[in-house]
């Protein structure tokens, strides 16, 4: 089978602590206000608020970033080549090529996983953090690249490496012996908004 890098996220394990989000911010030196992955509370009325009525309540967390779709509409529409798909299934967004047209943001079924960097990029520190050599540019679109720069060094994406609950697993779905193949074989799972037909590479274990 062809190589297909996927992320599998265990929602039973996820506690919504956002360590992944902050690790991503650090690794990719994200400017203030820019997040490539966030943990969404699926409840009511914001972070950590359950849905329902006291005491019949429920609350879930959903880590949400670029879903790295196989049929990535963003790749189709990008006029500049900034958005591209690698052979192993990553959808890469390169700000040096991005003209800021935001077509990708329009066609993406998963609104909210991309960020349009505004006019001024601010940082709380005077030096870059993390190892991603990418330079952030105003008026470009940014998103999760599955830490392609780390993968090249044989490391896992920062969010996967940092998760204290080991809720995130990353690997090759084309390899039947990989941890991700095993998990999807053994545990009930779902993808987000399958009806859009994008065939995302992010799987959620229930």
């Amino acid at each position: 089978m062809t190589k297909r890098l996927v992320m599998v996220i265990d929602l039973q394990a996820c506690t919504g602590c956002n360590t992944c989000s902050v690790a991503c911010k650090q690794e990719n030196n994200l400017p203030d206000g820019v997040w490539w992955t966030q943990v969404v509370t699926l409840g009511d009325n914001g972070n950590d608020s359950p849905a329902g009525e006291y005491p019949n309540l429920f609350m879930d967390y959903l880590p949400l970033g670029c879903q790295h779709c196989v049929n990535a509409p963003c790749v189709e529409v990008c006029p500049s080549g900034a958005t591209a798909q690698t052979e192993d299934g990553l959808v890469i967004q390169d700000p040096t090529q991005c003209g800021g047209c935001r077509y990708c943001m329009l066609v993406c079924p998963y609104t909210g996983v991309r960020v349009f960097a505004g006019e001024t990029l601010r940082y709380s520190l005077p030096f870059p953090t993390g190892d991603n050599p990418m330079i952030h540019r105003p008026f470009t679109v940014e998103k999760c690249n599955f830490c392609a720069h780390r993968l090249k060094r044989g490391l896992l994406p920062a969010c996967v490496d940092s998760c204290p609950m080991v809720a995130r697993t990353f690997g090759d779905l084309g390899d039947p012996n990989s941890e991700v193949s095993k998990l999807l074989r053994e545990r009930p799972h779902f993808q987000l908004l399958v009806e859009k037909g994008a065939d995302p590479s992010t799987f959620y274990l229930t």
């Binding site: 506690t15 360590t19 650090q26 608020s49 591209a84 490496d161 609950m165 993808q191």
Partner: protein, 955 residues
């Protein structure tokens, strides 16, 4: 949960036998389910015309070409409705193919009878979640762009369609997406950096250290990447046992805290009034000379005990931490300092446990790593998924191993949301539940009789005349092994407990003219009124629920009770501690893997035993921080004129802030604060000293679990910052006790290693080289009281405590809250119970200025139930003023169903700059329970308040 309308299920199966067995499994649902069958693609197409909730498909049932492509397309049509593939055989190849088809789960035919229902339940339960995502995504656009970014231009859609037609194939990765070579040193993760090597700003290197903050999940190993002299990245460091490799969003944020523009960089001297914020930057020489001069004068005028050194738990390194350098300095001076027994906070429940299980037991329990051995875990008055976040993985391991998690909490906490069951108890009524459970266990004889007779004081005879245990004549209470007596049923007379083979659990006897009854009888009599029905009325729980919970706890073994510091924040915290220990003892859940009871989950003390704070055996004069303001004001038993605060934020963390600020502080002639930031305590200081962080000085920490870790000096101290060791040593020199700090820090570390049995064999050099080492712990070290030897006066579990006779509390009797109880005369004016929680985005007040974390948790909020808001005309995000007779705070409100009506929840640690007005800590009171073994303890949550919408004038 019962669905509103029947669930529509489609079978795609050919074999009638499979179809029949599915129908049989599903028939249990009755009218809640409807199913149809499809045998051809045309049938499926027709079925898709109407709404479907679930498809059960045998991939080989349909006659068509590309099965995978067909199902992939079908999967898209189904949307949130799950697809379960039914496979004729259970092979990895079949399962992989099913995953490729888009199946949400696969089941072998043979498994359907047993597995289908639970899997359906889980998948259909997730439908709510998937629908939630759609809702979220609809509203997400505004969140995805930073403020000020231009809005979407609708014409883009049209233009993009035109563009698509002209697009060339752009699937290849851009050629310039390449990376600069990574320096070799980056790969040296986990290897330690030799401290002997000069710290050069140019080289990149990765150094292992350990976090030392008091988050409750101490202490994660950190790999810090240093580039250009700055820490640019923090990652989790490896441990021999990979379960301990973890870090959190706060640990990563050290990157921002370390180079934070607000770091204190020079010593500061106050100009103008205290708290005015006018400072003069001065040299270390001047600062130390002036502070020492003032201290010398105060010592001459008021005695050394008038000088207080108040280190707290903000840092927990061995030397530069709570029981480190400043207490050593205080001891050398004969000055006062933070008590190492009475913390004033977090000590109520441990007091009760200490009384019941014996000396050294109060804060300890079976280790977190023992959780997976439990079959039932009662989490009572705590939110470990949030406040012990990096131990939570052990709870999940327990859950995966089959344990049931039951959470008792007034609030639907994160932990409650992850538990199998949540019991929404009314705030402040936990004693009622514990008493009812104990009564049920005794009345239903769910006791572990053997354990109760042999290891608790139950059979000991208690004198009716004075309440003391009956002892052998002539044996003094304080003499050698006073022998308590039991009634031996066979012998028909009183015998020393150790000599009795058949002690009676119950009975009244007159021994040597003294009427006595067993402690068990006293307990049972005390428990009589606490029926499940009575508890139900008080706690708001259901009597049947209480009965079921108790039966489960008493019969499922091993079972563990874990509390944190929720109920500790009430006046009755110690009694709660005594009762939960008694529950564990009566069910035989002590000294066993998977059992146990306690506050938190550390089998080993957080700090190693250390002679460092007691140079030459000399100790400081201990002060309970909770009582300090009162002592400053009353000057009893002696005047206090100087306070030196370190590793803590005194004004932020201790209760009754107005009294502290306006009555106690003015009586101090000197207030010095050593810290990294201008905390709200530092703002009121006379001198502020810039302390080095744990990345800037050498030390070590004990933990996590069985480990000990070394903390090297990784980067040079920022600005003119100095380590606390250096600050204390310099002050000591000027105060005439410089010899107390004459050795370099490493020699003291060696002494501490040698002082402890578990680290005696560890050479500091080796620890430095390895970064982390395992301490030498006995087999079964994870289990508390493995030998069932209890360091109580009787050697048994003492639910009956003689020490408490003068307080009238020898039995763990019901004890009402001080303030927050139904019917308090204050209730009409202040009808809401104000409870405080710990945020996961801060450690007390540390990280309240961490930019990344502040983007997530942006501001303090008061969480209230919508009903309470509505009653007061309050809507989401309104500014509200929360007040009582002691103080007030103004902050934004958050309407949340997670909290019950009648309460308001505040998150502790926010500083005055974060509030619109006032301070949360001005609402609390400093009334402690004098009966506690560990002294008076703050009852932060035993507080009543009222809430009102503030005027419109606020921005």
């Amino acid at each position: 949960m019962q669905p509103q309308s029947p669930l529509q299920i489609l079978f795609i199966v050919r074999q009638p036998s499979l179809s029949d067995s599915l129908a049989q499994v599903l028939s249990g649902f009755g009218s809640a389910l409807r199913w149809t069958s499809a045998a051809t693609p045309a049938d499926v197409a027709q079925a898709l015309e109407s709404k479907l909730d679930l498809i059960l498909a045998d991939p080989f049932a349909l006659e068509q070409g590309d099965t995978i492509a067909y199902y992939k397309a079908l999967r898209c049509r189904l949307g949130a409705a799950p697809l379960i593939a039914l496979l004729p055989a259970d092979t990895p190849e079949y399962r992989d193919a099913a995953v490729q088809m888009g199946a949400n789960y696969t089941l072998a035919w043979s498994e359907t009878a047993t597995e289908l229902l639970p899997v359906m339940e889980r998948l259909l339960g997730r439908k709510r979640l998937i629908t939630g995502v759609s809702k979220y995504i609809e509203n997400a656009a505004s969140l995805s762009a930073p403020a000020g970014a231009p809005a979407f231009d609708p014409s883009l859609t049209e233009r993009s369609r035109i563009k698509i037609e002209r697009l060339a194939q752009k699937r290849s990765i851009p050629e310039n997406y390449s990376l600069p070579p990574i320096s070799q040193s980056t790969f040296l993760r986990g290897l330690t950096f030799s401290v002997a090597a000069p710290i050069s700003p140019d080289t990149e290197r990765v150094v292992r250290t350990a976090c030392n903050l008091n988050c409750g999940s101490h202490f994660c190993g950190l790999n810090a990447t240093v580039r250009g002299g700055e820490i640019v990245k923090i990652e989790a460091a490896d441990f021999p046992d990979p379960r301990y490799r973890r870090l959190c969003m706060k640990g990563i944020s050290h990157v921002q805290m370390q180079a934070h523009p607000e770091r204190l960089l020079t010593p500061l001297k106050r100009n103008g009034q205290r708290g005015q914020g006018e400072w003069e930057s001065i040299s270390w020489e001047q600062a130390l000379d002036e502070i020492a001069k003032k201290m010398r004068r105060l010592r001459d005028d008021f005695g050394a005990e008038s000088l207080v050194f108040l280190p707290y738990s903000g840092q927990l390194s061995v030397l530069n931490g709570f029981n480190g350098v400043y207490l050593r300095l205080a001891a050398a001076l004969g000055a006062s300092g933070t008590s190492l027994r009475e913390y004033g906070i977090d000590s109520a429940v441990p007091s009760g446990i200490e009384d019941t299980l014996g000396a050294g037991s109060g804060y300890l329990a079976n280790d977190f790593s023992d959780l997976p051995n439990s079959r039932l875990i009662l989490i009572w008055g705590g939110n470990p998924a949030q406040s012990r976040m990096n131990w939570w993985s052990f709870f999940m391991d327990a859950k995966r191993a089959g344990a049931r998690l039951v959470t008792i909490d007034p609030r639907f906490s994160l932990t409650a949301s992850k538990s199998d069951e949540w019991l929404p108890i009314r705030a402040g009524t936990d004693l009622h539940l514990a008493l009812a459970m104990l009564r049920l266990i005794i009345e239903n004889d769910w006791m572990d009789r053997e354990f109760v007779l042999r290891h608790t004081v139950a059979p000991l005879l208690v004198r009716e005349d004075n309440g003391e245990f009956l002892r052998l004549e002539n044996a003094s209470r304080n003499g050698d092994q006073p022998q308590s007596l039991v009634w031996d049923a066979e012998a028909g007379r009183a015998l020393p407990a150790a000599q009795s083979s058949s002690p009676a659990l119950s009975g009244r006897h007159v021994v040597a003219g003294i009427p006595c009854r067993t402690a068990f009888d006293f307990l049972r009599e005390m428990l009589a009124p606490y029926t499940p029905e009575f508890a139900a009325e008080k706690t708001g729980l259901d009597a049947v629920q209480i009965l079921q919970l108790t039966r489960e706890y008493a019969t499922v073994k091993p079972a563990r009770i874990m509390t944190l510091y929720g109920i500790d924040r009430w006046n009755h915290g110690a009694t709660f501690g005594r009762l939960i220990v008694t529950l564990a003892a009566f069910t035989g859940n002590l000294g066993v893997h998977g059992g146990g009871v306690g506050v938190d989950g550390s089998r080993e003390a957080t700090l190693p035993a250390s002679d460092f704070p007691t140079p030459n055996g000399k100790s400081h004069r201990p002060i309970n921080p909770l009582l300090l303001p009162e002592q400053i004001i009353s000057e009893q038993p002696h005047p206090i004129k100087s306070v030196f605060v370190a590793f803590g934020n005194w004004i932020n963390q201790l209760p009754d802030q107005n009294r502290l600020l306006h009555e106690a502080l003015p009586k101090l002639e000197l207030l010095v604060v050593a810290d990294h930031f201008m905390t709200e305590t530092a703002r009121f200081a006379d001198y502020v000293l810039p302390a080095a962080t744990f990345f800037e000085r050498e030390d070590m920490v004990k933990g996590p679990g069985p480990y000990i870790q070394y903390q090297p000096a990784i980067v040079a101290p920022r600005g003119e910052c100095r380590s606390d060791f250096e600050i204390a040593a310099e002050l000591a020199k000027r105060l005439g006790c410089g010899d107390a700090f004459e050795k370099p820090p490493r020699e003291y570390l060696v002494e501490v290693l040698a002082r402890n049995e578990d680290t005696r064999a560890i050479a500091l050099d080796e620890l430095i080289a390895q970064g982390v080492m395992k301490r030498r712990l006995p087999l079964d070290w994870e289990v508390m009281h493995r030998d069932l030897h209890f360091h109580t006066p009787s050697g048994r579990v003492e639910f009956y405590v003689e020490r408490l006779l003068p307080f009238g509390r020898a039995l763990p009797k019901y004890e009402p809250p001080l303030e927050a109880f139904l019917g308090n005369e204050l209730s009409p004016r202040y009808p809401l119970v104000c409870l405080t929680e710990h945020s996961r985005y801060r450690v007390h007040s540390t990280f309240s200025n961490a930019p990344w974390l502040r983007e997530i948790e942006t501001e303090p909020r008061a969480a209230v139930h919508p009903l309470e808001a509505e009653r007061r005309g309050i809507v989401e995000r309104d500014w509200v003023r929360i007040y009582n007779g002691r103080g007030h705070v103004t902050l934004r409100v958050h309407l949340s169903q997670a909290v019950p009506p009648g309460t308001v929840y505040l998150s502790q640690g926010w500083q005055s700059v974060d509030f619109q007005n006032g301070h949360a800590q001005s609402l609390t009171h400093a009334r402690g329970n004098a009966a506690n073994a560990f002294g008076e303890n703050s009852s932060f949550s035993d507080v009543l308040v009222e809430m009102e919408k503030t005027g419109e004038s606020l921005p």
